[in-house]
């Protein structure tokens, strides 16, 4: 689903609205919409270059000037605590480090929307904490809307404001986190958040 939102895959049916407008078929305009958001895959791919260059990629793709890139990348790395890694080659990072770089890379160009697919899968609790912290920071300080797909109920409870509960691609229930976790309308939702059923 995140792939559809990010315009990487065409939907099998229906119309996709972005900011209330249907998305056109034209590739150039799609790129413009695409540039307002960014997606971090579950399986992170960092380019085999320095961390700095990875984070700068999106800015370069948008044609930012050298100085601006320098400034933005620098301050972002500071903000998310990755400054020490700036000169490291991305393919030498650990899993947690790589995931943080991937997220940083995805927000460097201030997207309106950040899509995260299982951002903490296969990570240890320490790294999970770092990443969740990072996500909250980005959301609060930069005002980026973040959409996370996760199977981790506790994670959703910890960081989400709004929750949409999906089962087999269908929306079961949606609403504020508070409502979903404390007073779910649907039986399935209740069983899931209480950890009784794993779909």
């Amino acid at each position: 689903m995140l792939r559809i939102i990010n315009l990487l895959t065409a939907p099998t049916g229906g119309v996709y609205y972005f900011h209330g407008c249907p998305v056109p078929g034209n590739t150039r305009e799609q790129v413009n919409i695409q540039r307002k958001m960014s997606l971090v895959f579950q399986k992170t791919i960092l380019f085999k270059e320095s961390v700095w260059n990875n984070v700068a990629y999106g800015l370069r793709a948008r044609g930012y000037s050298r100085e601006e890139i320098y400034e933005r990348v620098g301050s972002l790395l500071d903000q998310v605590g990755l400054s020490d890694l700036a000169k490291r080659r991305a393919d030498t990072l650990s899993g947690g480090e790589a995931q943080r770089v991937a997220i940083a890379r995805s927000v460097a160009f201030d997207p309106e929307l950040l899509l995260l697919d299982e951002p903490t899968a296969n990570l240890d609790p320490y790294n999970i904490e770092l990443i969740e912290e990072m996500i909250t920071t980005l959301n609060r300080e930069k005002g980026i809307t973040v959409v996370i797909v996760t199977h981790n109920v506790f994670q959703a409870r910890r960081i989400a404001d709004e929750v949409i509960f999906l089962d087999k691609g269908e929306i079961v229930e949606m609403g504020s986190a508070e409502k979903i976790f404390t007073n779910p309308e649907h039986e399935k939702t209740r069983l899931y958040v209480e950890g009784k059923v794993v779909f």
Binding site: R3, N6, L8, Y57, R105
Partner: protein, 232 residues
């Protein structure tokens, strides 16, 4: 055995004497093969990227054709170019036959499928994921493709080295379209054939060694670039 030894001695004498005829032959070999590889890279890498990024199903036939052409015997490639460039051929008016340009064209024909095919394989393995990542970061299709090429540089360099090895060692095509004219289109491999036919085995093996040493130097150079791209 003694002949081989004499050949090795002769090779070193040749190298250190800096014989102008030899230098000219070596220089022409390099000029022809390097030009051919540059052109083949410009043609082959984007083509390999294009095919490697398409869903597997569609370009299957094209891929098969390219894989087949990777093994085209140099004489056959040479013959095709010969027929195109000969006086009666469609491009005969250009008067390119028996010139270094003709040799470059023939070698481009031999090297392009190799570079295309090997790049294709390298890019297909990880290319689609890289494109997605690049696109999600806001790259347009051009930049995304360029990123894939950069990310696949290891296999692409491998492809270039393989292509270069093939053309620098190739004799059939350059013999046919170049004609082995002394001082004009004679390269190392055709000179080796000639000296062998003349019965000058020492000189022939000497030239062969010079060719090997050159190939070693150039491949080491390319290999170092490739390694540089791999890690710090």
């Amino acid at each position: 055995m003694t002949r081989l030894f004499e050949g090795i001695l002769e090779a070193f004498q040749l190298i250190f004497s800096l014989d102008p005829d030899l230098l000219q032959i070596v220089f022409l070999s390099l000029r022809v093969s390097i030009s051919a590889i540059i052109i083949a890279t410009i043609l082959g890498v984007p083509m390999g990227a294009f095919l490697g990024l398409k869903p597997e199903k569609k370009p299957r036939l094209i891929s098969k054709i390219i894989y087949t052409f990777m093994g085209i015997p140099p004489v056959v490639g040479g013959l095709i170019i010969y027929l195109l460039l000969s006086r009666q051929g469609p491009l005969g008016v250009l008067g390119l036959l028996y010139t270094p340009s003709a040799m470059i064209i023939a070698q481009v024909l031999l090297a392009t499928p190799i570079i295309t095919g090997l790049s294709l394989v390298g890019i297909r393995s990880k290319g689609p994921e890289i494109v997605e990542t690049a696109r999600s970061l806001g790259a347009d299709p051009m930049l995304a493709t360029w990123t894939v090429i950069k990310e696949s540089r290891l296999s692409i360099f491998g492809a270039i080295i393989t292509g270069f090895s093939r053309v620098i060692a190739e004799v059939g095509a350059v013999m046919i379209v170049g004609g082995n004219i002394a001082g004009r289109t004679r390269v190392m491999t055709t000179a080796i054939v000639l000296e062998t036919r003349r019965g000058n085995y020492e000189l022939a093996i000497g030239l062969g060694l010079v060719l090997l040493i050159l190939a070693f130097v150039i491949n080491s150079f390319l290999y170092n670039i490739q390694k540089g791209g791999q890690a710090n």
